[in-house]
Symmetry: C2
Subunit: 336 residues, 2 copies
DNA sequence: ATGAAAGCGCTAACAT
DNA sequence: ATGTTAGCGCTTTCAT
């Protein structure tokens, strides 16, 4: 009907013939309202289908019982994390608001600061920042960072054990008999990428296999860059028998390049990825990869935040969840 | 630092030695501010890390450039839809707020009315309601319903061809040689569930296979209920050789029950799901299922909403997207 | 038991 | 060019 005009507390008050404050008291179950008046107001509320505006309420109140999940974009990683976050608030009385600018390009580094500033204090009591680029303790609201780009020890974080995950991947390849192992590293500025490379080096060292630096190329977590690098590796005079890619995107790109070059995976080349995104099981052959427990990361992050909200204290907790090697079809013993 | 006190426009005004409105003008690029003043204010804003509160802004302004996606819970269907919605807003200047009560049990029928009332007018310009139970044109805000409970012709909706999808699933099972086919139906109050059941019946009828009513149990689109129902079916004297589940959640729950009971899928039992959520390829064996173009549904819903927002008109568009059978490993010819 | 009024952070007339 | 003021919808003292 007509204009899309909200029903406000004014409408209810007028209709019920009482004042604003009386309506507010009824809504919030405050004392000092006659039973008859309360009933009449309730009736009008039901008739008009009135619901208090979350915005107006949260502008007035200190606490909103809403927690925010701030993401740069809604892609496989963040949406998977949301499922865990939803689990985390279940039964706590908190509601969830996920905020995303839809990965717009203008949102460069520091998007999370902007989002948090815009929402905190009003609308949300605290937030989970998903893969934030710059993390500062100065944000002025309780928050937990999931898989932040830089390692700060002052703020609560949840991440996965990238170091051991990478080591596990290398051990797997070495156990299969590989020695000439290459790595496509991730985005150099990201902590996760650095840890995965370090894990690779540690794994090799533990097995007493020297690292050939010419076999370490940057894949940047990106398909196009990784494809270039993979091509360079596979067209060497003495190509590696196995490639450890810093994420599944890189691994899948490598797989495609290998196929293009007429190689058979895993017979001619073993490939291990990292993340275990759904796509890793859809490719042929399916990808051996290191799984991050993404949902659990979301769950834990919310739990940590709720704890923070309750305690008002800021223990700089760092939760590092275990990673796990998922062996599929892209790895085997080297040919010869 | 210290207390988590927001930096407000007052702080900026005080620090820069100007009035509130001047700061507001600078923020919103309004005319009537001297270059020098503007620069000074900008500097203070940067120093203090000030960002206007979305809540306060949207309380004042008519338009917020934010669209809401209202979901009852964050599960595979809704999160997959979010990816499409994110694609839909990309480059439009709109931002996305996803609101979820985390599937709390109290949120009975009509949750979407409550959410929409709480957010519309303030905070969001319009909304996409994901699987709403009751849809009324009276909500007082532009919105598009995805896969709504009831088929109302007055409001814009986006859904998938549930009827034909279910028929296709049944045809597949019948072609494989199954005759004793059970169905775990969905939430009885949802139109999608009714259409999938109707498609099942039509498919059976077309093949001349009578429907054994004792093999139709309610799975309610839920894992726990479906597990119960699946157990009942599989422990019958003469259990079905195939089960068509109304959604993937139910199908995966069925798969787990079958494994628990020592059955081998698909040798002892064929299972077909509906939705093709990412999880359907991750289970073992991977699930044969009817694909709904969920992402596209999200994309289309957002596009439709933006169109509505622009036009102010309400063409009662109904978009029904095609479904498609994806054959994987959970179906084969019946054993004996 | 009820209502008037102030104010949460912000914007937009309307002064000056 | 800058400041003052009145709300947006709501809750909460503080009267009455």
């Amino acid at each position: 009907m007509s204009k899309s005009s909200r029903v406000t507390i004014h409408d209810v008050a007028r209709e019920a013939g009482v004042s604003l404050s009386t309506v507010s008291k009824v809504i919030n179950n405050r004392y000092g309202v006659a039973a008859a008046t309360s009933a009449r107001v309730q009736k009008v509320i039901a008739e008009l289908g009135y619901e208090a505006s979350l915005v107006a309420q949260s502008l007035r109140n200190h606490e909103t019982k809403v927690i925010g999940i701030l993401v740069a974009d809604l892609e496989p990683f963040s949406t998977e994390l949301l499922k865990g976050a939803a689990e985390g608030v279940r039964g706590t009385g908190y509601e969830l608001v996920i905020y995303s600018a839809g990965g717009r390009t203008e949102a460069r580094d520091g998007w999370e600061r902007r989002y948090l500033s815009r929402l905190s204090g009003t609308l949300i009591d605290g937030a989970v920042l998903v893969t934030p680029t710059i993390v500062s303790a100065q944000y002025g609201a309780p928050f937990v960072a999931v898989d932040p780009h830089t390692g700060t020890s002052e703020i609560p974080t949840v991440d996965a054990d990238n170091l051991r995950g990478a080591q596990t991947a290398v051990h797997h390849l070495i156990e299969l008999g590989h020695r000439r192992i290459a790595m496509l590293t991730g985005r150099p500025d990201l902590m996760s990428a650095q840890l995965r490379e370090q894990g690779f080096r540690t794994g090799m060292a533990q097995a007493g296999v020297p690292v050939d630096e010419s076999l370490l190329l940057v894949g940047d977590y990106r398909a196009d860059i990784s494809a270039e690098a993979a091509k360079a590796l596979l067209t060497m005079d003495e190509p590696p028998t196995a490639i450890f890619a810093a994420n599944d995107i890189s691994a899948i790109a490598t797989l495609e390049v290998a196929v293009d070059l007429g190689l058979e995976v895993p017979r001619d080349l073993s490939i291990v990825g990292f993340d275990n995104v759904p796509e890793s099981v859809l490719c042929t052959p399916s990808l051996t990869t290191v799984e991050q427990p993404i949902r659990e990361m979301g769950l834990r992050a919310v739990e940590l935040l709720l704890q923070l909200l309750r305690a008002e204290s800021i223990p700089a907790t760092h939760l590092t969840l275990d990673t796990r090697l998922v062996v599929r079809q892209s790895t085997s013993a080297p040919r010869r």
